[in-house]
Amino acid sequence: MGQGGSVIGAGEAVWGGFSAFFSIWQLCILQFSPFFLAFIVGTFFCTPGQRHAPPVIRATLPASLAWTLSFTLLYSLLIASALPLSRPLISNLGSLRIIAGVLILLVSLYIFLMGRRASLAKWHRPSTLIVLAMVIGISFALMYSPCITPMLSDIMGLATQRGTAREGWYLAFLYGLGTSIAMCAFAWALIAVLSRSAAVWRKARWISDACVLVLVVLGLMNISGLMTFYKAFLLGLAL
């Protein structure tokens, strides 16, 4: 059962995921890419008591790494449906998406409060951001309905069969890693451009609040099931 996949190298899988981000397949990745940007930009600009932009990489690297790891791990598990762990996850996706929505709302609340309460500044540490980024990464993998690109089709050909599920999972992990790296690089570039301007930094709270709003909308869409409308109308419009 399932199709036989072609032989794909590790580097090829990473590149396939990376290049998908900058190709027509971005239309599918739009399911979560704007929300990832909202998270990274929101946490960067909500830094309390900060008058100037901190170094971009230093401020965003821990969260980016944590997001990449958690998103890629869960995404690849969901792709590799022949693995024993994957089926229960897929069977419970509906409930898990609601939980993901609640978690996204909690992360939004953190960003919102952090920009307002100086007393909470002691909590705004890389370790906190790592936990939040992991939560967001897991949530995004759950809410994602991947469009199957030609390379992903080959990978799934392996990942959906018991005999080759391990190899398929490994390649799916690398493919997801490529997409995540591209997304993080894009986010860093965006923040680097934004934070260079003193005018933008003066509006840091507004930017952070706008990001919170985007994340709140995402959380509510996941809880209510309106995410389907986002996919059908906004992604459909782009095509």
Binding site: M1, G2, Q3, I24, W25, L27, C28, P55, R58, L61, P62, L65, A66, L69, L73, L77, L78, I79, S81, A82, L83, P84, L85, S86, R87, I90, S91, L93, G94, P126, S127, I130, S145, P146, C147, I148, T149, P150, L152, S153, D154, M156, G157, T160, Q161, R162, G163, A165, R166, W169, M227, T228, F229, K231, A232, F233, L235, G236, L239
Partner: protein, 180 residues
């Protein structure tokens, strides 16, 4: 960057690697345990298609029990999905050809709205029965993650093959011929 930050990064990276390795080991262990029981191997024992009821566009329900015993092609798609748009003309062409030979074609829209599904069906002149999988009930029963995915079910109700990704005319002909 400060020494403290470097230390933290190293710690975080190690923690991440340990976590990834742990999950990988768990997966591999579970898979090995399953492979020790050959009767449970999907490669040896193919799965039966799950029972489902599809609310059809244009009214009425289609129950799997009503069509069981015939060769069936079930295509999961969404109106906003690029590869779904690419493959639909090929599926429609093959449907025109194989319907006369007794194959039942079904389209199941997932993560979609009825209005958009209707637009999609009109745009690609889909002639076979199509319905919206509200609540992702059918999607879950097939264990589906990612679209498009096409299932080929034989006369015994066994999923003979499935393809994740856009299908081609050649692939459709090859798999459908095996069901006849």
């Amino acid at each position: 960057m400060s020494l403290r930050f470097y230390k933290f990064l190293i710690f975080a990276s190690l923690a991440g690697l340990i976590l990834a390795a742990g999950v990988a080991a768990l997966l591999l262990f579970q898979q090995d345990a399953d492979e020790e029981t050959p009767t449970r191997s999907r490669a040896m024992v193919k799965e039966f298609a799950p029972d489902f009821t599809l609310a059809l566009l244009g009214g009425g329900n289609l129950r799997y029990a009503e069509i069981k015993g015939k060769p069936i092609l079930v295509n999961f798609f969404a109106s906003w999905c690029l590869p779904c748009r690419e493959e639909m003309p090929a599926i429609e062409k093959i449907a025109q050809e194989y319907r006369a030979r007794g194959v039942v074609f079904l389209g199941v829209a997932v993560d979609d709205t009825e209005a958009k599904m209707r637009e999609f069906v009109t745009r690609y002149q889909v002639s076979f029965p199509v319905g919206l999988d509200e609540g992702a009930v059918i999607q879950k029963s097939f264990g589906l993650y990612g679209i498009p995915t096409t299932y080929f079910i034989d006369k015994q109700g066994v999923i003979n093959y499935f393809h994740a990704g856009a299908v081609t005319e050649e692939l459709l002909r090859h798999e459908l011929d095996k069901l006849l």
